[in-house]
């Protein structure tokens, strides 16, 4: 029964990594990181639920903290994307290739 959850976790995490590697739109990349984090949230819950003795309540607290961290990361990332759009006029990563060497 647990394997269905774990398959979902693996699917979400791989989807996030796929997005980060193959997409060129900055917004898509941020969504990719979000999807990875959501996969990990599910993993914490499933992992905690397999143990007895209050472990599940710990994993609930962890999930809330992960969401908090993700929101902060996304906020900073989006503000940087806005700044990048102001400087390059696009949200394509190909426009961010000026730093070299």
């Amino acid at each position: 029964m647990w394997s269905a959850y774990w398959i979902t976790v693996i699917f979400l995490f791989s989807l996030g990594i796929y997005t980060l590697i193959f997409r060129h739109n900055l917004i898509h990349l941020i969504i990719g990181i979000e999807v990875m984090a959501k996969g990990l949230c599910l993993a914490v819950l499933v992992g905690g639920a397999q143990h007895a003795g209050g472990v599940f309540s710990v994993s609930q607290a962890i999930v809330i903290t992960i969401i908090l961290i993700e929101v902060a990361t996304t906020a900073i990332a989006l503000s940087l994307v806005v700044a990048a759009h102001r400087h390059t006029g696009t949200v394509d990563v190909a426009a961010l290739r000026r730093l070299k060497g």
């Binding site: 995490f13 993993a43 905690g48 900073i76 940087l80 060497g101």
Partner: protein, 491 residues
Amino acid sequence: MTDLVYPVAILLAGSLVVYIVARVSGSKTLTGAVALIALMLSGYVMYLLSGGEGIGPPVPFKGREVFVSFELNGLAIFMAVVSLGLAAVVALFSIGYMHEKNIGKYYALLLMMTAGMVGIGLAADLFNLFVMFELMSLASFALVAFEDDWEPVEAGIKYLLLSAMGSMVALLGIILVFTHTGKLSLAELQGTQYALLLKPELMLGVAALFIAGFGVKAAIVPMHTWLPDAHSAAPSGISAMLSGMVISAGLITMIKALSVLHGIDLRLVLPALAIITMLTGNLMAWVQTDLKRMLAYSSIAHMGYILAGVGVAFSAPGVAALDGMRGGLYHILNHAIMKGGAFLCAGAILTLIGTRDLKEMAGIGRKLPLVGICFGIFALALAGAPPLNGFISKLFICKAAIMLDPWGFILVVMVIFNSLLSLFYYLPALNKIALAPEMSEKVKQAPDHLPACMVLAIFILALLTIALGVQPQLGLDLVQPAAAFLAGIIQ
């Protein structure tokens, strides 16, 4: 009674106060002074908690829950002293270096980043370690892209995306440990009872996730690509923080996380990564013409030296663990001082002539002898010249590495070879900045004085570079308990 949350909480509260002070007063001197007071207060509380003198037995934080715990030990003191000290010097430097605009945000983020680093030392469970690591990372993302120009923004986006991906990968490792044991506390996981729940194959996978994930922040070579961009685009004070402490804090996080994996064999991995890291860093630094970029690549090389010491400790736990850790941690301390100082010099030169190009800097030492001489001291220490502190810690690393049986000799040869290699780019830079008699056009037009606080900050670090070189015992008193703690937990 003695709550270990206070050192971190004071810094976080301080970041709020600093922002309000900046908004109300609009004065950067006052804001910087408040930030310095917050750093000192946090350091003082840390001193009180550690019992005034020396380091007593670990004081566990009486957590109400299973998963929020802090522990005071040698490593926590080491991290607190180095990060608070460097942050204080940077705060002093920034009073002169930064503009009045947005100064409140700058100091608030600086304090937040320092809080994260102090927290990494104190954290006693895996998830808390991760949260502190993220606190440090989040503040550093915003600080790299602090100036609104295309270069910082591009560097910031690269840094953020790579780091966020690395964090997720490391978090997956933490969650796998949690799933299989139901525990997060480092002390419990280091005991043999829970170690047996992790299968050897799983441990290898988790170790790979930790090294790849936290290695992004520690700039271990295949994951280093963000570093030169971020370090050269950030404001110079922040470059000093990033290079001096943030990447080392990433490595400390990695060591702490790896300590939960019992009997894992990293005999080849870490020394091999160390060799690749130092070679890449030095070779890439050689071809740079931009001073801050050169220093950034040199940071990668220095992470290689530190990783060599740490790798030896992981490879030969019985014989050389203490020596390897001592060499690695002592190099972290020295690197924070000398690379921090070198970046502050680069910042001072940038303020004067408005460029980071090495060719334009000829003769700056004639105009400002103190900056030139201090940069000379830092460059020689970074290259590992004998009376200075960089030499001492490289000596410790080599001494530990030679004990590692088949690989030690190669590691020692590589460390020495790389030190020589680094002379090839430090000597020309030293020659240009400190010695060259003729001045370039930009230097001729430059003003011939700097704000006193910038000079003072550079001078303090130069003094420490010499002091720790001629009197290594000063640094060893700080490093020894931390090394003993880390050597104890990696078994």
